[in-house]
């Protein structure tokens, strides 16, 4: 049995027929072919799949596609405009906050949710917030710097 899901994805109204068990991340990646959102662990640990749903960060590997029916969903692909990086993306680039790039989309989307609620997070607050985002390359040092710098750029 398939179900119809309609949502606003990166500002565009889209719909698709999905199985009940289809995950939001599968819909985004496999159906809409937005492959910037990644799957790293299948168990809500790594955060590579973080997108925004109705303005909040969610792990799209742990949301059923049908749960996103009627929702506003935005992914990493929505941030840069006309080839200009969003200040948070720019901060990751300037501070070498990424290496292999696989966790990066989830990190950036998660960081934006943090900053939306806490515009000037301390190092400890950033590290605490990243509990649900795993990176195996950077040792987090430069991710923490990037998020602090991105938050500062967004304040100014």
């Amino acid at each position: 049995m398939t179900l119809m899901v309609t949502m606003t994805l990166n500002g565009e109204s889209v719909s698709a027929e999905v199985e009940g068990r289809t995950l939001l991340v599968q819909l985004i990646r496999d159906h809409f072919r937005l492959t910037g959102t990644h799957v790293g662990c299948d168990t809500s640990q790594c955060g590579a799949c973080v997108v925004h749903m109705n303005g909040q960060s969610v792990k799209s590997c742990t949301v059923l596609a049908v749960q996103a029916d009627g929702a506003q969903v935005s992914t990493i692909e929505s941030l840069a405009e006309n080839g200009e990086l969003h200040p948070m993306q720019q901060a990751f680039k300037d501070n070498h906050g990424l290496q292999c790039g696989f966790c990066t989309p989830g990190m950036v989307m998660s960081a934006l949710d943090l900053v939306a609620n806490n515009p000037d997070p301390s190092e400890a607050e950033i590290r605490d917030w990243l509990e649900g985002n795993l990176c195996r390359c950077t040792g987090y040092h430069n991710i923490v710097k990037s998020i602090a710098a991105g938050a500062q750029a967004m304040r100014s």
Binding site: D42, R136, Y140, H141
Partner: protein, 780 residues
């Protein structure tokens, strides 16, 4: 903006990664692709009575189901190394099980369906009838008298290997005033790149050729192994593409059976076949790292002069030999046991053992973290036993800065270094002098503060091919590069190195831009495709810049040499009178010059050109085979506070000074060190690949059970570098990718044992272990 060698240039690759436009293997959707799911053994050791696929074949969307019977003509997964060429027990590893399974996760069948979900559903319906056998999980069990044998061999031994002079070492111990002994476990790790492995196999009947997209650190090596040794496909009929790869850490070096299965099946079913691992599958089937049990003895005089070192190690190989499995605990391990010290006599013996567990291969550092851990643990322990300050004890035994090249008693010859300078700066950075006061202050807060050192050395830049051959590698270890100058002067660089996070597209472009005097933006680096790149050995062992970068430099030298010939003709001067600097070919002592761009154009529009002597075009390739390993070294100092009530350890300071030789991009180098430290801290405090001792079930099969470091497990790091250039490669570089992972475990365990006043705590030093060690120490 300076973009040359030494500049902290932001990365070319970042824009695509930050905007979601990276192209990882699982992002690729080939037209008409079907999806594969592997049925994996749920038991550690069993004969297969039957594998019934009938029900699965009838499931919706199923395209094909294959078992070992279908692959009987297909070769097994080859191993690429036998220490000293053998003898080594090298049992076959079939792609899909042939009558027997040997670890939980061993592949029994492959189900291919229209969608991954349908393949998963059908895989559930494959009925495997296991005739279970007793499993040997620990190395102790595997080596016990009468232990069940995993392969058709007399026992579970893979090899017994030794290095160094046993007699001289015995003599050193005979005259020692003091012997420090430690029994150590180097815990098994799962590399856990955040991108799971994936592969797509495809057959093109029009050209009778195959393409494999795979998450590999070394696509040419996969082409060679799979083409020549498994499927019998000649190189010109097999293309291997490793596009963006989301971290490797050693686990994406080996040639895996899944790569073979999808490539083979792509032809059988006449459509591309795609497989992507789930995380639990990664835990079960990615190669694991480390897993040693070691006894180490250090013989000293009463004033702390090291006289001899004796090491015996049991190394777990897992159920089958992975591509470089036997290399790691032998030549990447025993050869580093001199460390940064003058110990004159060293003997190391290693027994490689088969167990009913996943194959063990390289994990960041590969052999060198194991060597550093035992050496720096035994040195620190000796300092405590002898009552000598650990800095002073190290200083007394350092190889002097004027002693290079330095011949160790374990084959390798160090090229350059200054270990005292590194230690002095690290101690200064860590304010070692002020530590006693900080310890007192912590005590007033009820915390136990400890400080631990780790000096390390590593052999990188693998490797001189002739030496590799002598020690047992079944491959050369050079690197290849092609530098293609286009008519308008922009450049494409094709490298056999592979980037899976290291930033080669930036670092290599800096080298080319610097050498040719052309804008950084005018250089693009291409990697990861055997159809585009002439050849390559890939990226591991911190070799990319030292070997791959050197190959690029050699090709650049050829470009410049040819450019001089073209310029000499254009400027009507002798070739020997032409200098090349900052992008200009100049007639020495005159103001006559021509730019690199004009020479490039002239090479492709050769109207005024010495056609009688010189071919048109400006496109040069090179192979570089190193003359020695490179030997980065450094000192990491970790400071911790332990809560005696809970055993919880907090890392409060991490200071490190590393000598990587010349540095091309300090921003990228710092990032590599940070990441390396995180791997080492993970091993020492958090990570453990655990199997049930009886059943062989993997207990740490998900990221909820296996703890990789999170942001709040780590501090910010204070790191610096010193520089003794590598004397034998054109860039003077040594490599930096593994340093942190090599140094960190010893520094951390030295700090914890210092804090709680015990001789040893095994890794991972979890709160439970630290608390128990503290209780037993207080009980004494």
């Amino acid at each position: 903006m300076d973009t040359g060698i030494g500049a902290a240039v932001t990365r070319k690759e970042d824009f695509r990664f930050l905007t979601g436009q990276g192209n990882y293997t699982d992002d690729i959707a080939r037209p008409g692709q079907a999806h594969a799911v592997f049925v994996r053994s749920v038991v550690a050791h069993a004969n297969l009575r039957a594998v019934n696929t009938e029900a699965a074949s009838a499931m919706p969307g199923v395209v094909a189901v294959f078992t070992g019977d279908d692959l009987q003509g297909v070769g097994g997964v080859p191993c690429g190394f036998a220490p000293d060429g053998g003898p080594m027990n090298e049992p076959p590893r079939p792609v899909l099980a042939q009558g027997k399974v040997r670890f939980v996760g061993d592949m029994v069948a492959m189900v291919i369906a229209e969608t991954a979900e349908q393949a998963r559903d059908a895989a559930e319906a494959v009925d495997v009838d296991y005739d279970e056998l007793p499993a040997v999980v620990s190395m102790e069990a595997a080596q016990a008298e009468g232990a069940p044998t995993i392969h058709d061999l007399d026992d579970n031994s893979c090899f017994s290997w030794g290095i160094g002079d046993a007699e001289a070492t015995d003599a050193a111990f005979a005259k020692a005033d003091h012997v420090t002994t430690l029994e150590l476990v180097n815990n098994r790790k799962c590399p856990n790149a955040i991108e799971p492995r994936a592969a797509i196999g495809e057959y093109d009947p029009a050209h009778d050729s195959y393409t494999l997209y795979t998450t590999s650190q070394n696509p040419h090596v996969i082409r060679l192994l799979m083409g020549a040794f498994v499927l019998g496909i000649p190189e010109h009929k097999l293309r291997v593409v490793s596009p963006d790869v989301g971290g490797g850490f050693g686990s994406k070096i080996p040639h895996y059976p899944e790569e073979i299965a999808v490539t083979w099946a792509g032809k059988q079913v006449g459509r591309p076949v795609k497989w992507t691992a789930e995380r639990t599958e990664s835990f079960l089937s990615d190669t694991h790292g480390r897993d040693h049990i070691t006894r180490v003895e250090l013989a000293c005089t009463s004033d702390g002069e090291f006289l001899g070192l004796r090491v015996h190690t049991q190394a777990n190989m897992g159920a089958y030999l992975s591509t470089f499995g036997p290399l790691i605990p032998t030549y990447l391990y025993g050869t580093l046991l001199a460390g940064v010290y003058t110990t004159p006599a060293i003997r190391c013996e290693v027994d490689g053992v088969f167990t009913n567990t996943a194959p063990v291969d390289a994990e960041r550092g590969a052999g060198r973290p194991e060597a550093t851990f035992l050496l720096e643990r035994v040195v620190e322990t000796a300092a405590r036993e002898l009552g000598i300050d650990p800095v002073e004890l190290r200083r007394r035994n350092f190889i002097a800065s004027d002693a290079f090249p330095y011949q160790t008693p374990v084959i390798v010859q160090y090229d350059s270094g200054n270990y005292e300078q590194v230690l002095d700066r690290a101690a200064e950075l860590a304010d070692y002098a002020g530590f006693a006061q900080r310890r007192e202050e912590a005590k007033s807060r009820g915390r136990l503060r400890g400080l631990g050192f780790a000096g390390y050395i590593e052999a990188c830049g693998m490797a001189p091919s002739n030496i590799a051959g002598v020690i047992g590698a079944r491959a050369g270890l050079f690197e290849a590069a092609q530098v293609r100058v286009h008519p308008t002067g922009s450049v494409s660089v094709y490298t056999g190195s592979h980037s899976h996070g290291q930033g080669h597209e930036t670092t290599f472009a800096q080298v080319v831009s610097d050498r040719l005097g052309i804008p950084f933006e005018n250089v693009d680096v291409v990697h990861g495709d055997t159809d585009q790149i002439p050849f390559g050995m890939g990226t591991y062992g911190s070799r990319s810049l030292a070997v791959g970068g050197s190959a690029i430099c050699k090709a650049l030298d050829k470009i410049i040499a040819k450019g001089k010939k073209i310029a000499a003709h254009a400027l009507e001067a002798g070739e020997s009178d032409i200098d090349f600097e900052s992008g200009e070919f100049r007639v020495r002592g005159t103001d006559k010059s021509v730019g690199f761009g004009d020479i490039a154009l002239s090479a492709y529009v050769p109207h005024n050109y010495p056609l009688e002597e010189l071919e048109p075009g400006l496109d040069e390739g090179a192979f570089y085979d190193p003359t020695n390993f490179t030997f980065p070294a450094g000192c990491h100092i970790c400071e911790v506070e332990v809560d005696p009530e809970t055993g919880t350890t907090q890392i409060v300071n991490w200071n490190a000074v590393d000598d990587f030789g010349k540095i091309v991009n300090p921003m990228i180098v710092d990032g590599q060190v940070h990441g390396g430290i995180a791997h080492g801290v993970g091993q020492a405090m958090l990570e453990n690949c655990a199997y049930d001792e009886d059943s062989g079930q993997l207990l740490s099969g998900s990221l909820t059970d296996y703890c990789i470091p999170r942001a709040d497990d780590l501090p910010s790091f204070h790191i610096e570098t010193t520089e003794t250039p590598c004397p034998h490669n054109p860039l003077g570089v040594k490599g930096c990718g593994e340093a942190g992972a090599i140094a960190a475990p010893a520094a951390l365990i030295n700090a914890i044992t210092d804090a709680i006043g015990v001789a040893h705590v095994d890794m991972p030093a979890t709160p439970e272990k630290v608390w128990a060690a503290l209780q037993s120490a207080q009980g004494e």
